[in-house]
């Protein structure tokens, strides 16, 4: 399934992998290293995960550690919580972020609160993975990101990788973390054979075992004119825009937050201090979410950092429509990002 297009930067210590393969590599390494790690969810066994998150793991680790569950999210997410409390390190997959509603109590009242309610005496070291995002006409109940909702509720880290290398390093860090970590993978970055190919979803991934620290943003493109703060698939769109605008002499810095919780506010401030202009791109809903949080970070710290008012490009508080033209109209794709960047650099 690996897409073997021409490697751009092959090194002795990395290969090109799709994001899904990179995630699987991290999980396999941790399962090898730590017998308390196991994977649980719907269609994660012989199917290999609907979005390729567990391909090959069943053959390698067997059905006792790669476990197909009934379609019963409350029961099996709760099972992960109880197992984590008793010293195991479950990775539990909620197939779509959109399904959080059927099991949210386990997530935000139990998984995320037990450590706090116990005064730090009980740890819940589990990873809750899920697919997020739209762009393929799957409609309003299968295309949401919702990471802002998880980030709003205290007690869980929220990780959203954009690149294969980060996906592997962040998964390793998530499994080793003593806290509950919600790990959202956008379907559009996974390098799935049955979706539109994003060239950056098949990229260099270092060999061996490494962690990408959770809570540390990444300047994926350095620039001097405007900062685009974003996450996940929108990082790729922002890079597309940055490359296009470079021809017009606009130098865009792209900051990949990598995680919403913890949020690397220092990196946001440092970048905006340098460029003086800010565009926040978020495939989640506009209001009360990540984009507002990023702008508030500037406003609370030093609003004078901004030479122009900030711009937000997000889903305009509407359910994700089904028809292709309607969906593309609300998603923060290259056209809307480019327009926003041009507006903030115009002044």
């Amino acid at each position: 399934m690996t897409i073997t297009e021409t490697p751009t930067t092959p090194t002795p210590h990395s290969r090109r992998l799709t994001t899904s393969k990179a995630i699987v590599e991290a999980i396999a390494f941790e399962m090898e290293r730590d017998p308390s790690v196991f994977y649980l969810g719907e269609d994660v066994g012989s199917y290999g995960g609907i979005f390729g998150s567990t391909g090959g793991l069943l053959d390698r680790f067997g059905k006792d550690r790669v476990i197909d569950t009934p379609i019963s999210e409350t029961a099996f997410i709760g099972l992960g919580i109880g197992a984590a409390v008793e010293g195991m390190r479950p990775i539990v997959e909620l197939m779509f972020a959109d399904f959080m509603g059927v099991c949210l109590d386990q997530i935000y009242n139990h998984m995320a609160k037990i450590h706090f309610e116990s005064g730090g005496n009980v740890k819940v070291p589990m990873v809750l993975t899920m697919a997020a995002g739209g762009g393929y006409s799957d409609g309003a109940q299968h295309s949401q990101c919702l990471w802002g909702t998880f980030a709003h509720l205290p007690g869980m880290k929220v990780v959203v990788p954009s690149s294969p290398a980060d996906a592997k390093g962040l998964m390793t860090a998530a499994i080793r973390d003593d806290n509950p970590v919600v790990y959202l993978f956008h379907k559009g970055v996974m390098g799935l054979p049955w979706m539109a190919k994003n060239p950056r979803s098949n990229d260099a991934v270092p060999d061996g075992d490494y962690e990408t620290p959770i809570g540390k943003a990444n300047v994926v493109r350095s620039g001097s004119d405007v900062t685009v703060v974003t996450i996940s698939l929108s990082v790729h769109h922002a890079l597309d825009v940055a490359e296009r605008l470079a021809d017009d002499g606009i130098d865009v810095e792209v900051l990949d937050l990598r995680s919403l919780v913890p949020l690397d506010r220092e990196a946001i401030l440092a970048s905006v201090a340098k460029t003086g202009r800010l565009v926040v791109v978020d495939e989640d809903y506009l209001s009360f979410g990540m984009s507002g949080e990023v702008v508030a970070t500037i406003a609370e710290h030093d609003p004078t950092l901004l030479k122009r008012p900030a711009e937000r490009v997000a889903v305009p508080d509407v359910p994700i429509p089904y028809a292709h033209a309607l969906e593309y109209a609300v998603l923060p794709r290259q056209d809307r990002i480019e327009a926003a960047v041009r507006r903030v650099v115009a002044g």
């Binding site: 006792d64 569950t69 009934p70 019963s72 409350t74 029961a75 099996f76 997410i77 709760g78 099972l79 992960g80 919580i81 109880g82 197992a83 984590a84 409390v85 008793e86 010293g87 195991m88 479950p90 109590d105 386990q106 009242n109 139990h110 609160k113 037990i114 450590h115 706090f116 309610e117 116990s118 005064g119 730090g120 005496n121 009980v122 740890k123 070291p125 205290p154 007690g155 880290k157 003593d178 806290n179």
Partner: protein, 344 residues
């Protein structure tokens, strides 16, 4: 008997079973129930001591909602008699009798109820959110949602190669929640070592079981998941003890989960301050109090005498008052630490 939902109390004659029990076991059951009741009477006293003038739920040494389990002691005593503190117990928002019966440290539990620094959760949890890793005890304030994590504890115990088990408790009102049914199905399908316990006290807050539930007995629902289900009438501690013995043995032997429903009695309100105007079975409820009833039975059997009763009651009082004093002497958490323990 003015509502259909009103308790159908068994007479002592009906409340049979376990008559062949070892006298030491019978005394232990009695002692556990007395300790739980004594403890809750003291919590009740402290709770109401400074709520006035009037009744302000947020005031006093014990603020907030308080759900007491008086009348339901037979369930906890009968089940926990078969457990060690290596086994897990997940209780409900009405958790004290199970905490007491499972051996949660009384001092630290009380300090938590008082919201003190030495509490089980350093004052972050409160009486509905008690977590004690030493005894694998936990509880949840959300109806039925304590069941799924209990599955995970059972899963871990099994994977770790032990014969430890998990006991998951809900009320009868929770048996109409999705989490209840999902948990029974999954535990049955995976043969997890879980004992599901349903405390049927007839009332989901103010709604009687007959108005909320399509079956007369939630034990019948076990059949839908292919597991044994047993209902114990009469709030009889020895009946619970017998049923729990079977269920616990089955779980330990790797034969999977069972469900036990106990028809019990909510002697006091849903929460303290609940006037229970909706409740028409209260007039004769005190006569169904399981503790004096069991005491009479044990006296008649020659297991209990005045001297033993006095000894057990004063020991319970001593432990309770010691725990209350410990809680009162524990410092209030530093407000500056309110944001601690969100993350490990």
């Amino acid at each position: 008997m003015t509502t259909q939902a009103a308790a159908q109390p068994a007479t002592p004659q009906q409340a049979g079973g376990g008559t062949g029990l070892d006298p030491a076991v019978r005394l232990d059951l009695y002692e556990t129930m007395v300790l739980s009741r004594t403890y809750e009477e003291a919590i009740l006293r402290e709770y109401h001591a400074d709520k006035g003038p009037g009744f302000d739920i947020g005031k006093g040494l014990i603020p907030g909602e308080m759900h007491l389990s008086a009348g339901q002691e037979p369930v906890a005593a009968g089940v926990c008699a078969h457990l060690t503190t290596d086994d897990a117990v997940t209780a409900t928002h009405r958790p004290h009798h199970f905490a007491v019966a499972h051996g949660v440290d009384l001092r630290r539990m009380t300090a938590e109820i008082f919201g003190r620094e030495d509490g089980l959760g350093r004052g972050r949890g409160g009486h509905m959110h008690l977590f004690d890793p030493d005894t694998h005890f936990s509880c949840s304030g959300i109806i039925a949602e304590g069941y799924p994590p209990a599955l995970g504890q059972a899963f871990a115990f099994h994977r770790q190669g032990t014969d430890r088990i998990a006991v998951a408790v809900t009320g009868e009102g929770a048996a109409n929640q999705g989490a209840f049914h999902e948990s029974l199905n999954l535990a049955a399908r995976w043969s997890l070592p879980v004992v599901f316990v349903v405390e049927d006290n007839d009332w989901g807050i103010s709604v009687p079981r007959t108005a909320s539930t399509s079956v007369a007995s939630n034990a019948d629902r076990a059949a839908a998941y292919g597991i044994p289900g047993e209902r114990i009438e009469g709030n009889d501690v020895e009946g619970v003890y017998d049923a729990a013995r079977r269920a616990v043995a089955r779980a330990r032997a790797g034969e999977g989960p069972s469900l036990i429903e106990v028809h019990t009695l909510r002697l006091w309100g849903h929460f303290e301050g609940d006037a229970q105007g909706y409740r028409l079975d209260l007039e004769d409820a005190p006569s169904h109090d399981p503790i004096p009833r069991y005491e009479t039975r044990l006296r008649e059997a020659g297991v209990l005498d005045d001297e033993t009763v006095t000894r057990i009651r004063s020991a319970a009082s001593e432990r309770t008052e010691d725990a209350i004093a410990f809680a009162k002497n524990s410092p209030v958490p530093d407000p500056a630490s309110a944001t601690s323990y969100v993350f490990a």
